[in-house]
Symmetry: C4
Subunit: 242 residues, 4 copies
């Protein structure tokens, strides 16, 4: 029945329904310069159901009826099947990367941006042959989780791995998964000369972590222009109580 | 009859009608800084009918009733005739350039911006006596078409020709056409110290290509400030499947 | 009677009435960063009536009922009298400067911004002990009038005088008037370390010239960062037909 | 009764009620990049009642029902009690810092931003081992109060103290209070690598002073990039009449 009339999967009067949230988030992301020219994307998981913005659409014009839906459990086979496919659109090439965040991290939302600040950070790191973005002693770092209950502290170092870009977005999946394994605490992976993938346990967390990361990327580029190092050695003024 | 009551040509309740789309696009372009101070413009072709924003108007305040309409087929003679001319406005000086994109490339939409990023890129190229903007190994390059079915790949080089500015915008036409002939794959031409013309097979393509180009122009200026080259030599990690 | 019930002077359902236009313009200027922190201002003249935004208000929240009205003809005496004074507000200190544009240039609208681009241009000029901003060979220059009918051409040099700031805004008036006399063609005067005054024959012209100037100020700052001169020597490619 | 049904404390149809003003201000602050990723905050005092945005919320989505309310007089004990606590939210860690502005300065509103311009200014000062931001001879300085009736003059020097960041935001309180004592005229305190606290006698003053400060921080960063000193020696052209 769902297959014969799958539009009910994306029809809701609740503004917090994934099929409504993805368009409102994408419009916001477009204004922030994160999904320029149909680039980037967003996916939300609600239990077993995965909602994904399609490929190649103007993100600020996205509608609920444009959303793809698939079952996370049914994605073990190589061929991907959708519970709902909007007519005359194409599935997002980010799909396997979103699924990696949902299966490996039990994330509920994953955001992919082409933010220029993310791209510029990967270019600055490339000049140093580095594959990890590191920054410490900036208040906004406290927005990020660390293993255990509490978030990172002000003096802690935030580390975001960088993977090399591939000609085909799907081919990034294995490298993204490798980075997830190597950096078990990270909530994001930078893609060199491309952008960033950010996920979280909820839409709220994915979105606010993505904002905080973009803030840090922009700050890092400006710090570089001003000759200020991303890593500094500031004595801890108080024991960490968290 | 059309001539005696031509307002029907720009009257529609369909938000996707060219006479409604041009104002909504221009308002968006104004917010992006592309059409500041009445600069820049936009035209849409629907089969033989060409819709054009007028000269000298505040683009964020444009109304459907301000739109000029002409027939593409009837433009062979030197004197231009309009199916509809709004009273007390002037035709856009970009008109012959828009028509070049429609006749030479069968484009359906052409956008002209004065984006500062476009102007700065032409100034940086001028310092190198260069007339071609070239960039490679940036994900956003994949937004651009290449001869044949598929778009450019990540490792491909996007090339956008630059023509010199002329005192009168109409005089750019022959140089724009020359650049179109010399760069048969390009969807855009930069104008030195002036801006850029971008076209596409649909309004969607022209708009998203214009956005992606502006993204690359901005990125290129920032890369230049950070001492990072626009062209890099990154080994191809996988055969191109497209 | 006007004096006993002067609110009719600012009450109109016409969105183009000066008392409605000033608030909508100021909200736009606030978004552009031109009137941050109650700085800057705007005035419109309709024949003998002059409408002015008050001092010290949040410009994006301005209402029609906040607008001062005075008679241009009645301002010859040293003491200024208002046809309408909103209760519990203060008149703008820019008033005599707006009046200078209306009396000396017969302008219909005058805009004063604290745009950072304007301030930065005056600082860069100060380092060269210069009191004139000059730029040529940029398309946007064609937005500015020159003596006679036509606007400046692409190869012409736009010149905007800079006056030194004074501790009290009213004291700028004589220097503004001097600059108007010395640069009879200018539609704007920069104020060192302060901002810019821009006027025009209509609200449309003042607003679009202010936008075009701000575009050029921003471009000039970016050009300076990139080591590109504001004045260049490009051979004229065609006789000027305008 | 207030305790049994405290929602009336945040329910009002008046857009200027603190429980309505905080959400509308926070949405504006989000657009300005001041409260990215749930960072920053805002509090308003109405006589003895203090209204505070909660911790960890997306500031552009804040609702009146999310607001905490407490009594200023009842905060002398170490344990803080709230007249109203929204269910499933956490109190802001900025609370003791807001209260410091209300008790020590009789402020009516306090704003805390993570603005990148504020952070960059503290980083530039750190490189000079400086703990005071100083700037003079910029018009926007006149937005700030000085002891006695009038505001700072154009030639006066605005001084904003910088305190070092602490791992826990509450621990900033004693240092903020120290800075308030040492700089009795200041309406703001910068926090190194973190942001800024700004207060005022009214919501209007706190908001417009915060805007003017952010304007000066951004201008100062740009001036630094252009090699222009924040402090200059310009002869006073006129006696100060204020």
């Amino acid at each position: 029945m769902a297959l014969s009339n799958p539009d009910h999967l994306v029809t809701s009067s609740d503004p917090d329904h994934p099929a409504n949230l993805i368009p409102s988030l994408c419009a916001k992301f477009w204004s922030l310069g994160w999904v320029t020219g149909t680039g980037g994307g967003c996916s939300i998981r609600d239990d077993d159901l995965v909602y994904i913005a399609p490929s190649g659409v103007q993100k600020e014009l996205l509608k609920s009826s444009d959303i793809y839906v698939l079952s996370l459990a049914a994605q073990t086979s190589p061929a991907r099947t959708y519970l709902r496919s909007p007519p005359s659109l194409k599935p997002s090439q980010c799909t396997p990367l979103f699924l990696a965040a949902f299966t490996r991290r039990r994330a509920s939302c994953c955001i992919h941006t082409h933010s220029q600040w993310a791209v510029l950070v990967t270019l600055l790191l490339e000049a140093n042959k580095s594959s990890v973005f590191e920054i410490n002693n900036i208040e906004q770092i406290k927005a990020f989780p660390r293993p255990g209950a509490a978030n990172l502290g002000f003096h802690d170092t935030l580390r975001i791995p960088v993977i090399e870009n591939t000609p085909h977005e799907e081919d990034l999946t294995e490298f993204l998964e490798e980075a997830m394994d190597k950096f078990p605490d990270t909530c994001a992976v930078l893609v060199r000369r491309h952008g960033v993938y950010v996920w979280g346990d909820s839409v709220h967390k994915a979105k606010t972590q993505c904002e905080s990361l973009d803030y840090l990327f922009q700050l890092a580029v400006e710090m570089h222009k001003l000759g200020i190092s991303w890593i500094s050695d500031i004595p801890r003024t108080a024991p960490d109580r968290s």
